[in-house]
Symmetry: C2
Subunit: 319 residues, 2 copies
Amino acid sequence: MRIVVLAGGIGGARFLRGLLSAVPDAEITVIGNTGDDIHLFGLKVCPDLDTVMYTLGGGINEDQGWGRTDESFTVKEELAAYGVGPSWFGLGDRDFATHIVRTQMIDAGYPLSAVTEALCDRWQPGVRLLPMSDDRVETHVAVNDPETGERRVIHFQEYWVKLRASLDAEAVVPVGAEQAKPAPGVLEAIAAADVILLPPSNPVVSIGTILAVPGIREAVAQAAAPVVGLSPIVGGSPVRGMADKVLAAVGVESTASAVALHYGPGLLDGWLVDTSDADAVETVTAAGIACRAVPLMMTDTDATAAMARAALELAEQAR
Amino acid sequence: MRIVVLAGGIGGARFLRGLLSAVPDAEITVIGNTGDDIHLFGLKVCPDLDTVMYTLGGGINEDQGWGRTDESFTVKEELAAYGVGPSWFGLGDRDFATHIVRTQMIDAGYPLSAVTEALCDRWQPGVRLLPMSDDRVETHVAVNDPETGERRVIHFQEYWVKLRASLDAEAVVPVGAEQAKPAPGVLEAIAAADVILLPPSNPVVSIGTILAVPGIREAVAQAAAPVVGLSPIVGGSPVRGMADKVLAAVGVESTASAVALHYGPGLLDGWLVDTSDADAVETVTAAGIACRAVPLMMTDTDATAAMARAALELAEQAR
């Protein structure tokens, strides 16, 4: 079975771990969001790709869900001693090595997809990890400065990590997406897929960014494979992170049904909502999307594997 | 008193510490060798500049004479885990931060001299540290491959650090030096100096490289200030390092007098040899270079300060 998964960071990575547990023999291609990439200290940092790679490769800090386990922060402290920031982005020493290798390869002319493949040589994530694009896309967020009242456009990471989404997002713009091309293999994997899954990743800044690369949304919508998503909203609030903030920016309510309708029946064939959102099933089904309510909390790998199996079952029904 | 010092790495840095102790109120400009610079992992590493900066700024690993104190090697281990080398160059985590800041600034368009000044803002070395040039110069060494018998040209650091000068150096070439220009302030500092000192640094790959930048040798030779050097050869062998190997490549014997004559009376006004090389005094003096024998082992700061005072006294006599 060939499965394509559009993945953001923590939610996508944890879902993938469950999926690999559920169907260890499946041939899984992950199309990773690169819209939260950021250049820090002259280095190219790809948080979502790395979170998937570290999680599936056994190097993730399990408690925080991102970054490396057994991490130290000597380089960061030294950079701060030079007065060089930002200090709000937590790059550890182990993590720095990844960004140094990546940047060195990119400066040598390798596209991000080739770099990602080289990094995965070490981590052996058990999936084929493709960036959504080799072209630079960096999501920015427009906010109203509470002091001046003026609109400022800031990098997504500044909004998410530094400000912790404490201001309303007035707009979310994946800068560069319009000019970006899908990375080699992305459209081919979508076309050849038996199933396409949207994990409970952020619908706006993770999966939404992937779909914003011209050609990808169309390919997913037109794929022969059923497309099944899992709601990142449980009981009216994001399971993790601050997805409600960026959903509001695109005019979508933070409900399991609203997110399904945001993706739309043109894209989705099936949608899983949490058992606590069972009342959404009717609305979503009425919109032409097959829908089931199952437990959607990724409390451990077994629970997540059950979610993955439910998604695959719904895909079979929707086929 | 305005003193200009042409400095390599460890020897230069330790001499400077003694000089600062001897004449704390002097205005010292250090013209640092950048010929042993190397690009590693996409980062610009300037070992000699950093050794001076760390030594005078209190961050040096005193035992080894280079690198940072209290150092860890997490980044390097992680790079090795990615299969990315070289592994023979000991970059520690604290040190990495310096190279990251430097590379980021250079990529942003700042010349090395401005970057060095910015780094020194943190370290406050008590001297004005100038790279010999803002242009890229990297010393290479020609060796005969013992297996194939063929000549290979390798980076100085590969020769020095990886091979530990175990092969004869057939030639030493500061690649890029001919096209390099002295960094801003270098010629002005030399012209304005009251004294110019050549510490017991490597005469070929440290001071020789600085003098190879067009304009610097001429400026030193023509300066109004007396030029006094300290022999890096004591009792027929280098005090530290493997200077004999690269002296042989330029046809110079490893003796205190041969090094003085290599610099020549056109450059040197005075030369200090170690008391164990007192027999060199006559030869050097006969060549037209004022010469004295004093203890030249930099065993501690006091001993080194005494060497610095002896050099300044000889400069007064040679004036």
